[in-house]
Assembly symmetry: C2
Homo-oligomer: 393 residues x 2
């Protein structure tokens, strides 16, 4: 058996996305202790950087030492108590995972179902809350990774607040790619991932909790069912000021990577990063449409960073993705859940969101589909995208 | 704000230990997708390497995508059901954490208490199981990181089996440092960490489950309370053969690091690694005793990789550790729980277990303690250790 040397791919699926080489280098810096004063200083920096990325002053803002689904679970196990009623808006795979979390907390999930590919319907949420005045929490996904749709967080939180509910928001795919304002929108609990628009390696989950959420956690009647995710304990290590109490051993080098990723985002500026995602999405879209392919999601609520494209009739999903990977070293995503076999998911996330990737993807897709005899308008996509990318030339 | 460039420490605490540079380099290899065929092939290799390290053929042998305390929780939430009676042997901090896990599963923990620093008493376990014939699980720690004591896993498992109990064993600090035979000793569930004797970065937790354990998990009456740690779901991604179903996004680059760490262990050979830990421990011990310092744990049950040393009277714990860190870039560990302020924990783990570190540590400790006026026999430790390290010269 030998050392594993991965092939060099272009990652344009639903994440992980292409990682900035600065981040890869950061991962390989010397390991130090999780209670080393130098590491503690880095943790303080990390909190500042995360607060900037999330646009919040929440004192409890930190990375959970595990992937995004553990960040989701951290929000649910801390805020939900047995017997609570939680309204979950589902319009894709990840709303379903929220339901699982609610039920495993011994609570009741009241589902607000929307068509996959549509945004969460604010009126349905309002009606549901009127019908369930005892609901305590509302949970939904900002950017549904399974369909590429964006929901209106600001409005949904306003409705939840009018009904005295705390909110849990999934920002796994939105953070760094589209506007997200935790404080202005008054979100109570939010979790994200590192491997989407932050272009970091997977394995950590930034989370943030409002004062109201922290108060609820501190005053729980039942202990949090998870020891590893119990914020009453974790806050002793990541909480602000004073002594850092050992809880678990932090994933030191992975945190070096996240620190570097957040620094890169700050150097670019949030608004600039959002604009870059929008710009390259427009170029990709021009190419996709020039080819005669279509989007699952209506334009007004479409995510720039996650493009769900309908697979043309008669084309075999897996064959196309395999050829893209083998011939072009290009990874795009398969459909998930009820979208499996029906769509491809093309990510334009963080460091992967650039002109070279847009043109590589369109060129490769055009080539593979044409050679498989798919009903597309071949040879036009790259030119259409270039016009958007480089309007002056 | 700037990139974080950590100081270069020598890590001789309770973990993280010094990381082999090969592993740091592996972390920085290009990220690929968690369902990429090349990554799947690496996962198969990883399982073989973990099976070797743990000396098991268990099909369910894999790294949990989070630190050792999540590996612990994975074992408990999957094997323990509400209302179960679980016997927990406690002789340090981590037995206490097991109790927390049992209770958060809605089960009853029956504690077998031993003095901190002593091994788990097999007779007490036997008596407890006789008094609680309805107990279903026995849990204990192989190598207590808080005290440096080794318990007799083989005997404890035999007793548990005679009473029809499954066993959960904490091998966080033992794996790679001292003999551990999962199959021969008939352990049902075991978890470990990466940042101890594997000398990898922290953040992952190797686990392994016997067929009996897997059967119990598949036939649970209550769903596992954690979605993230539910092995019924995780096994779809890490389980053997066939299609890998998406559960959560694996921490790709961290897994590159663990693969490399396990490969290094295999290249050296398990027996050779165990012997290396024993050899360098003997040298450190010669130096510690030459200085007039003493161990917490009796010699016959002492861990070579974790040396808990009594702090001499009148010496301030924190001052010594700070001076070692600032002047010698050397990290040793503080006492934990009831040992806080009373002991130092000197790790000789994995890559950090070498002659240079033994001499560095003894020289630095001798210097700092002498200058603080501590009652030690100064100037003899390095020579005493050298005689053990290099008997021929």
């Amino acid at each position: 058996m030998k050392s594993f040397h991965p092939p060099r791919r272009t990652l344009m699926g639903p994440g992980p996305s292409d990682v900035n080489p600065r981040i890869l280098e950061a991962l390989s810096r010397p390991t130090i202790g999780h209670l080393d004063p130098a590491f503690i200083a880095m943790m303080d920096d990390m909190k500042d950087l995360l607060q900037y990325a999330l646009q919040t002053r929440n004192a409890i803002t930190m990375p959970v030492s595990a992937p995004g689904s553990a960040g989701m679970e951290t929000c649910f196990v801390n805020l939900v108590e047995p017997g609570d009623k939680v309204v979950v808006c589902q319009n894709g795979v990840f709303g379903g995972r929220m339901k699982e979390n609610v039920e495993r907390c011994g609570a009741e999930a009241v589902m607000v179902q929307d068509t996959w590919g549509a945004a969460v319907d604010a009126n349905k949420l309002e009606d549901t809350l009127k019908a369930h005045p005892d609901a305590k929490i509302v949970a939904f996904v900002h950017a549904e990774t399974s369909t590429g749709v964006c929901s209106d967080v600001k409005t949904l939180v306003e409705i939840a607040r009018r009904h005295d509910c705390l909110t849990i928001v999934d920002a796994v795919t939105s953070l760094g790619g589209i506007p997200l304002h935790v404080d202005d929108w008054r979100i109570d609990a939010i979790y994200s991932g590192t491997q989407k628009c932050l272009s970091c390696t997977p394995g950590l989950s930034p989370v943030s909790f409002s004062e109201a959420a922290v108060e609820k956690i501190r005053n729980r009647k039942h202990p949090v069912q998870s020891w590893f995710m119990d914020l009453n304990l974790v806050m002793g290590y990541w909480g602000s000021g004073g002594k850092r109490a050992y809880h678990h051993t932090a994933p030191i080098n992975a945190l070096y990577g996240l620190h570097e990723a957040l620094l890169i985002l700050k150097e670019e500026g949030l608004e600039q990063a959002w604009a870059r995602h929008e710009h390259h999405y427009r170029a990709l879209k021009a190419g996709i449409e020039a080819m005669g392919l279509s989007y699952v999601v209506e334009e007004s609520v479409r995510l720039p960073q996650l493009n769900a494209i309908r697979i043309p009739a008669g084309v075999d999903d897996a064959t196309v993705r395999r050829q893209l990977l083998e011939q072009y070293q290009l990874e795009i995503g398969a459909g998930l859940g009820e979208m499996a076999g029906k769509v491809w998911r093309i990510g334009l996330m963080g460091h992967a969101c650039n002109a070279r990737n847009v043109l590589t993807c369109l060129g490769a897709l055009d080539d593979v589909l044409s050679r498989l005899g798919a009903p597309i308008d071949s040879g036009k996509a790259v030119a259409a995208a270039s016009k958007v990318l480089f309007p002056q030339s």
